[in-house]
């Protein structure tokens, strides 16, 4: 039982990084895991060149979904939107670095799925112009 979650996962769960809300995010989306009803909201602040200047997430969930959101938000701060768009599910699983059973994949991927939805929605609102940031 003890080898399932690395200490780092539990530390991110107990004290998640970037947990909170952004006052006026440039991209925001609430995602939920229909299996358990867990919800998280991802919020991004972008500068004019489309770089992630600030990021936050809120909501509650299991250790795996919270740790993945915590690690992912650390990962994308300072990155360009194109880099964030290019992140793959496998990148999140690599960040987590633990065995994820098929039944827990949705927990592990809730953060990146929500993040991509936030960016897609923002792209839709701005005519898919990555650098055309609206304030």
């Amino acid at each position: 039982m003890d080898d399932l979650y690395r200490d780092e996962i539990l530390e991110h769960y107990r004290e998640p990084h970037n947990f909170g809300v952004l006052e006026s995010p440039d991209a925001s989306y609430e995602g939920h895991n229909p299996l358990c009803g867990d919800r998280i909201t991802m919020m991004l602040a972008l500068d004019e060149s489309g770089t992630v200047t600030d990021v936050a997430f809120s909501g509650r969930g299991c250790a795996i979904s919270q740790a993945s959101a915590s690690m992912l938000t650390d990962e994308i701060r300072g990155r360009s939107l194109d880099e964030v768009r290019a992140l793959k599910n496998q990148d999140i699983l690599d960040l987590l670095g633990i065995e994820i059973s098929p039944a827990r994949l949705k927990c592990a991927l809730l953060s990146i799925d929500t993040l991509h939805h936030a960016i897609d929605e923002r792209d839709g609102a701005t005519g898919s112009e990555p650098s055309g940031v609206q304030s």
């Binding site: 039982m1 979650y5 539990l10 358990c36 009803g37 250790a63 059973s101 927990c107």
Partner: protein, 421 residues
């Protein structure tokens, strides 16, 4: 109450081949029987015998194996009818599961009988299966859907029910036993009250028929539904019971082969009940397996099954409250008001993490909302852990669970508390 004979789970387990396997190196502790039950050898062999020796279609073949298959399929229907006290096997419609049975009633009876501004009453503790079909029907017909709330201990509030019955609902639909809280509802008096108000009553017996004696005539319901796979039978087996005159008056649900009397290019007459509601080739093997499960449970005695599970429930409520500091238990406090289900929240760990960690010890529990999201909203919990029992469950299973939960608490960093819950 008749005297009961204690079940011996150590003996019963020998009938379940799945206990021969190891999970992550540990013997299996299966505590998710409310989702589906394990299958005894008698059921597995009955399914195998059909597939090996008389795997013909039913109600067609003018040849030996076809007649054998038909006889076995109909024998299963008679066993199910006797098991739940139905007066006539023709009132038993075989379906895939309780969900299909409720949909059958919602489509066939509901669309013919529910109209604009009619009221359907259900409860806030229903499984989604006994909620979503009524939502769709109410939306389609512009009907009203009302809900009986439950109290702090997960018991339906009788006063609210009485008030809702004054709206003269056409249908009242509620669960015999909550799949999440374990609450046993007082079906007999709720049915009597509903009938006095002029409503028909559908009872969801998915969590009741596997665990306690059920007599649909004594309960007085109009429709009673359950799944076979939760009562040791194969997946794909389940039944709707309804009073003959209701079934006869209802239009078909699904249509096609098997359910017809005579078909012309522009006109069809339908078969007698129950065949009118069994379009297409049924899951013959599953129905025969259900018959074998009924035999198995009948031999154990449903009074004994109910007593066994009440004892386990009382034991689980007691040791979890005593041994796991901080654990929150949901549902009625007394084991006599609930049956076979214990749902909990561990403050320091999400139910999914609890379930993943317990799985490493070979312990299977349910984590999530258990298809009762509105109920969880009422509880104020996004997800809970649930343990549920069946005939093979034992106090040793609960002891292993307690050890596992202590391990979860240790991993999630809670210092061992010195005070009780």
């Amino acid at each position: 109450m008749s005297a009961t004979t204690p079940l011996d789970p150590a003996v019963i387990r020998r009938d379940f081949p799945i206990f021969e396997r190891k999970i992550h190196g540990h013997p299996l502790v299966y505590l998710d029987s409310a989702a589906t039950a394990l299958k005894p050898r008698a059921v597995i062999e009955a399914v195998d015998a059909y597939n090996s020796h008389h795997s013909a279609n039913v109600h067609r073949g003018i040849y030996t194996i076809g007649e054998e298959a038909t006889a076995e399929y109909e024998a299963a229907r008679q066993k199910v009818a006797r098991f739940i006290g139905a007066p006539d096997p023709a009132e038993i419609v075989f379906v895939r599961n309780a969900t299909e049975a409720i949909n059958l009633v919602a489509y066939a009876w509901g669309r013919a009988n529910i109209g604009r501004a009619d009221t359907i009453v259900t409860t806030e503790m229903e499984h989604h299966a006994n909620l979503v079909p009524w939502q769709l029907l109410a939306q389609e017909k512009d009907a009203d859907l009302e809900f009986v709330p439950f109290d702090e201990e997960g018991r339906l509030i009788a006063d609210s029910y009485e008030v809702l019955l004054r709206t003269k609902p056409k249908l009242v639909a509620f669960t015999h036993k909550s799949n999440t809280l374990g609450t046993l509802n007082d079906v007999r008096s709720m049915v009597a009250q509903a009938h006095a108000a002029g409503a028909l009553v559908l009872v969801d017996g998915a969590q009741a028929v596997p665990h306690l004696p059920v007599d649909v005539q004594a309960l007085g319901a109009d429709f009673y539904v359950f799944s076979g796979h939760k009562m040791l039978a194969p997946t794909g087996s389940g039944a709707l019971w309804a009073r003959r005159e209701l079934l006869e008056a209802m239009p078909p649900f699904m249509s096609g082969g098997e359910m017809i009397h005579s078909v012309h290019l522009r006109h069809t007459t339908f078969a007698e009940i129950p065949y009118k509601f069994e379009a297409g080739t049924p899951d013959v093997a599953a129905a025969i397996g259900l018959g074998a499960a009924v035999d198995y449970l009948t031999a154990l005695g449903m009074e004994n099954v109910a007593a066994h599970e009440e004892g386990l429930t009382a034991y689980a409520l007691e040791v979890l409250a005593r041994e796991i500091p901080g654990l929150r238990l949901h549902g009625p406090h007394s084991a006599s008001e609930r049956a076979g289900v214990v749902t909990f929240t561990l403050p320091e760990a999400h139910a999914h993490d609890v379930a993943s960690l317990l799985d490493r010890e070979g312990i299977a529990i349910r984590a999530g909302h258990h298809c009762t999201q509105p109920l969880h909203e009422r509880l104020g919990e996004a997800a809970t852990g649930r343990v549920s029992f069946n005939v093979y469950s034992s106090t040793e299973d609960i002891d292993r669970l307690v050890t596992g939960l202590r391990g979860v608490q240790r991993i999630f960093g809670r210092a061992p508390a010195t005070t009780g819950a």
